[in-house]
């Protein structure tokens, strides 16, 4: 079903009211201009915790709100409208999913409770180069049975510089492109040998480079314990698909907002004695964008539903969603800047934030090209 339930719609409306009031685009501008050390507002995160958002995927056993994945999708879409900076993606979605899927019972109790209570922020340290390539892991975890040494560099770690716990994807055995031999270590950011360099991205959202030099880890740090050693691939891939879909939902909200603002501009800006929205060239481009956005909505809704119904085709639908939404955000953000004319190029105007966010989001967890290839491979061509 590609429609939200009554409950989910209420959640969505609440989310919209909340971010409109407490985290408008102006809030992102402020974080940027103040060079906020955290890169997100902890007061806002506390307020989100009151609403149950950090634990939206987490079972009530661990103090979560258990709204389900579609519920999270609804919330993320609304945060996308205002370009809200928060650890929702890194922690409420990725951290919660990875720990739930791979963690030992003790790890789940500790970390899921931590996430649900808003106390624990996590960051997935995955990327090793400037294009998403999760199948290749060269970051090493050497040693065995209880004592490990971590070495390597991770880049573009979302919320890396504020995370309490880094979830580091490491190779414990095998060759760089092997499916097997991948392990995930949960390392506190302040452990000896861990060096985190915040990277100031164009979209003013948190990312960092993380280097580990002979960082020691025990099996308590190994997500899933000893029996999970070298076997994290399945959980990682599943988590990445959920991350792509959640991100696509957030991007959809940003797309809708950028489009709404552009339409509003077309209906107010006058030149040559008429509203520029009356020019057929612009009308047609707006109508084309409308059509693309309708398709983007469909692939997001279908992917969200696929997660909840545990569809076998989830990887295919995840790539479909990320690719289509990436292309649509690319188009809408480019058109928005063009249609806003000179004023849209000013920093004072907010539309530029949407362009900046678009390109960063497009590159996160695989761009359109990456996912077209994946879609083809999963489809058998």
């Amino acid at each position: 079903m590609m429609v939200f339930s009554e409950e989910q719609r209420i959640l969505k409306d609440t989310a919209r009211e909340f971010v409109t009031e407490h985290a408008p685009v102006a809030a992102l501008r402020k974080l940027r201009d103040d060079v906020s050390p955290d890169g997100f507002d902890r007061v806002l995160w506390n307020a989100m915790t009151e609403l149950g958002w950090p634990g939206v995927l987490i079972s009530e056993t661990y103090g979560g709100a258990a709204f389900g994945f579609k519920g999270l999708g609804a919330v993320l879409e609304e945060t996308g409208r205002t370009l809200t900076a928060s650890p929702l993606l890194s922690t409420a979605l990725i951290g919660a999913t990875l720990v739930e899927h791979l963690g030992t019972p003790a790890q789940k109790v500790q970390w899921l409770q931590g996430i649900a209570s808003g106390q624990l922020v996590t960051a997935l340290a995955l990327e090793e180069t400037h294009h998403h390539a999760p199948q290749r892991v060269t970051f090493t975890a050497s040693g065995a049975s209880g004592e490990f040494v971590l070495n390597g560099t991770k880049t573009f770690v979302l919320d890396g510089h504020v995370a309490d716990l880094l979830l580091v994807v490491a190779r414990s055995s095998g060759a760089p492109d092997d499916t097997d031999g991948v392990s995930i270590f949960a390392i506190p950011r302040d452990r000896n040998g861990v060096s985190v360099t915040r990277t100031f991205m164009v979209d003013s959202r948190n990312a960092a480079n993380v280097t580990c030099s002979d960082v020691t880890a025990t099996k308590a740090d190994l997500l899933g314990g000893e029996e999970a050693l070298g076997r994290a691939r399945g959980s990682l891939d599943y988590t990445l698909d959920l991350a792509r879909i959640g991100l696509a939902a957030e991007m959809l909200g940003s797309i809708e907002e950028a489009f709404d603002r552009t339409l509003a501009y077309l209906k107010t800006r006058e030149q040559f004695g008429v509203l520029i929205g009356s020019f057929q060239g612009l009308k047609h481009r707006a109508a084309e964008m409308f059509s693309e956005i309708e398709l983007a909505k469909s692939v997001v809704m279908e992917a969200l539903d696929a997660v909840e119904r545990k569809d076998e085709a989830l990887p295919l639908l995840s790539s479909l969603a990320k690719a289509k939404v990436s292309d649509t955000f690319h188009t809408v953000s480019s058109e928005a800047i063009q249609m806003y004319g000179g004023i849209g190029m000013t920093d004072d105007e907010e539309i530029g934030f949407f362009l900046k966010r678009a390109r960063v989001a497009e590159q996160t967890f695989g761009d359109a090209k990456y996912h077209r290839s994946r879609y083809a491979r999963l489809s058998g061509f």
């Binding site: 509203l275 409308f290 398709l295 083809a376 061509f381």
Partner: protein
């Protein structure tokens, strides 16, 4: 009020009746040349198709939801759904394909007087009369309302002069429903009337139109002092545009179902790519073509999901329905892209016109590629669709 019990009974009775009355041969896929259009010169390639039509028409099930008074089945929407599902269950062929059923009939039910309904509807239901549509003119395509076919009041009859174009099957039709101008002084939308007349009337002639893709059902139709009985005017004089617009809605709904109605057995593009371009461990041998095919398949997938979503939203009573206004535009452009992709994939093998050196599928692909160019023109051009979206959905100013 229909209770669940009544619907179940209806289903059982329907299933039994179909079992007895739908000939086995009519439960097989229907080739294009066995589609039953009816009319005075109706052809029934398969004898059972005549029997099937007669039986369904007698029951009014060629027009299941029309009033029984005019030969229709008189079914409720729920019963109609049941009938459709029972027909699909046995893969029953459509007993009758007809512009009368799809377009004119619904318009007559809404706008015609009782005498006209009694005169025309039963013949449509039974497939005795085949209709064609006289709308577009050489000078009135996208701007249909600017039509100039003249209809003069001669006291005891109308006199029609002019010509229509893109009249599908005009050379095979018995009657025409025609938009004519009855007032040349009024603003263009207010001088149009809706007229019905016999194609065998003196002064009516047709000429088939050959397309870039070869033969087509389209014709140009000429009216040279054609006399039409006064009572053949439907609705009010000069108020025909209202009827025309409503009929266009039915036409667009019809175009949307054509694919489902007749279906196509087209090989997926990626299968053809493997055959004509080859494959490696990484998939289709040409990575650029592979990427283009992936893009197209994703667009197709996303579009299918969108039509599904619109149906789900309609069912859930969600007012929006905005998505559906883009279907004709997006679907036709997608189809055109598909054929261009096929051409890229098949190279010169998709560029044969006829004869040796090409197989049937290849020659068909060439013709279909050419024909597909019309998809974004007929039934409202892409440009018109975008105008409609911009105005009605997005509220952009005139």
């Amino acid at each position: 009020m229909k209770t669940v019990m009544n619907l179940d009974t209806f289903r059982t009775e329907t299933r039994e009746w179909l079992e007895e009355n739908c000939p086995v041969a009519m439960r097989t896929p229907q080739p294009e040349d066995e589609i039953i259009w009816g009319g005075r010169n109706a052809e029934f390639k398969h004898p059972d198709s005549k029997v099937w039509l007669a039986r369904m028409a007698a029951r009014g099930w060629t027009a299941p939801t029309w009033p029984a008074a005019y030969g229709g089945g008189g079914l409720s929407p729920e019963q109609y759904q049941v009938l459709q599902s029972e027909l699909a269950r046995i893969c029953a062929r459509s007993p009758l394909s007809s512009f009368g059923l799809w377009m004119l009939g619904p318009a007559l039910l809404e706008f015609a007087d009782n005498a006209q309904k009694a005169k025309y509807l039963p013949d449509i239901v039974h497939g005795r009369i085949r209709w064609c549509q006289g709308y577009s003119e050489p000078g009135a395509g996208s701007d249909l309302a600017s039509l100039q076919t003249r209809c003069e009041d001669k006291g005891d009859h109308w006199l029609v002069n002019g010509s229509k174009i893109w009249t599908s099957y005009a050379n095979l039709a018995d009657w025409i429903f025609c938009l004519v101008r009855t007032d040349f002084e009024a603003p263009k939308h207010q001088g149009i009337s809706f007229l019905l007349f016999d194609m065998t009337s003196e002064g009516v002639s047709t000429q088939p139109i050959r397309l870039i893709s070869g033969a087509s059902p389209f014709c140009q139709t000429f009216f040279d002092n054609v006399k039409v009985p006064k009572e053949n005017l439907v609705g009010e004089l000069n108020k025909g545009w209202t009827i025309a617009k409503r009929l266009l809605q039915h036409e667009r709904a019809m175009i949307a179902t054509i694919g489902r109605r007749f279906g196509t057995t087209v090989a997926p593009v990626e299968a053809l790519a493997k055959r004509y371009v080859g494959e490696t461990n990484e998939g289709i041998a040409d990575p650029v073509l592979r990427d283009k095919i992936a893009q197209h398949q994703m667009d197709t997938h996303a579009f299918a999901l969108t039509t599904e979503r619109a149906a789900e939203e309609a069912k859930a009573g969600m007012a929006d329905g905005a998505a559906s206004s883009m279907f004709k535009y997006y679907g036709t452009e997608l189809n055109k892209r598909r054929y261009e992709l096929l051409l890229e994939t098949m190279g010169t093998q998709s560029l044969g016109w006829q004869g040796d050196g090409f197989d049937n599928q290849e020659l068909t692909t060439t013709r279909q590629w050419l024909r597909s160019k019309a998809n974004s023109i007929e039934g409202g051009t892409t440009e018109v669709q975008l105008n409609v979206i911009a105005k009605r959905v997005l509220g952009l100013p005139d």
